[in-house]
Amino acid sequence: MTVKAFSAEWAKAFKDEVNKSTVYKTAGKGWKWTVGLVVEAEPDKHFAEARGIVMDLFEGEARDVNVGSAADAQKCDFVITAPYSRWKQVATKELDATKGMLQGKLKLKGDLPTIVRYTKASQEMTECTTRIAVEWPDEK
């Protein structure tokens, strides 16, 4: 089933993918913090308003993934911010999230030693996004 990019349906599909992943279950053990993804608006790509994805991740499980405002996501313990088209690149495997962060294409806020300790978990979460069939607004 195809879902609209960064919609409530996408959030549910993402949560299901994370919870299906045995790799994430192991790599995310010990993780106890919330993660917010801020998807910045790009009106020329038909993504008119910024959105925030709020992820309640706990001990290798996605307890909840919700779509809200960018401000909601910014309240999380860890916040990763990028424009819509960068997130699309990540979700379509055009951009590796680790490289993106080192290059400043994805902006990270949060305790660095903690996020570095969970590099494998974050890589697997990125993999989870690539397994979702997405309808991209700029491809309509």
């Binding site: 106890k32 913090w33 919330t34 309640d56 706990f58 307890r63 909840d64 309240k75 313990d77 860890f78 590796d96 680790t98 490289k99 962060m101 080192l102 290059q103 400043g104 294409k105 902006k107 990270l108 806020k109 949060g110 305790d111 660095l112 030693p113 903690t114 570095v116 300790r117 590099t119």
Partner: protein
């Protein structure tokens, strides 16, 4: 930190932003606009040293210029350790003691090396074997390694988040 009770969530203050620092001034940046990679490494080391007292002796005593070049993004930094202070330069600067060249994933793995009982990096667990394998296959290159093994061990201890 989250409450262990399912469905309830509590907030935990996090210490550093990628572009920021903890405030003790252990790390400064040579460039007016530090690259994202410079900010990330500087921020990581600063947060590590401030939050983990066992890293302080290495940080206080290390005097070395360490270059790190990330081969798959064509970006690098020079970490100039000056006995209790670190200056981070964008790019590779001259007179480096050692230079590490590897892809982004391997550079992150270096931060995930565990430190064993004698203060030596652990190369027999999954992460360690991965790093050692890359070194043997030439995917991780360390210029100046042989005469500076102690320096590399100090840097690894400062760098390690484990």
């Amino acid at each position: 930190m989250h409450d262990t009770d399912r469905g309830r969530m509590a907030r935990r203050k996090v210490k550093a932003e990628i572009t920021g620092g903890g405030g003790k001034g252990l790390v400064d940046y040579a460039d007016k606009e530090p690259s994202a990679f410079s900010s990330m490494l500087g921020g990581l080391i600063e947060a590590n040293v401030e939050s983990r007292p066992e890293k302080q002796p290495d940080f206080s005593s290390l005097v070395a210029r360490v270059g790190i070049w990330v081969t798959d993004i064509d970006e690098g930094v020079t970490l100039d350790f000056k006995g209790g202070k670190l200056t981070v330069h964008n790019g590779l600067k001259p007179r480096r003691t050692i230079t590490i060249r590897a892809d982004a994933e391997t550079v992150m793995s270096l931060s995930n090396l565990k430190i064993g009982r004698l203060g030596l990096p652990v190369y027999y667990d999954e992460v360690g074997r991965g790093v050692a394998g890359k070194l043997l296959r030439g995917k991780l290159k360390i210029d100046g390694l042989l005469p500076n093994i102690m320096t590399l061990n100090s840097v690894t201890r400062i760098f390690s988040v484990q």
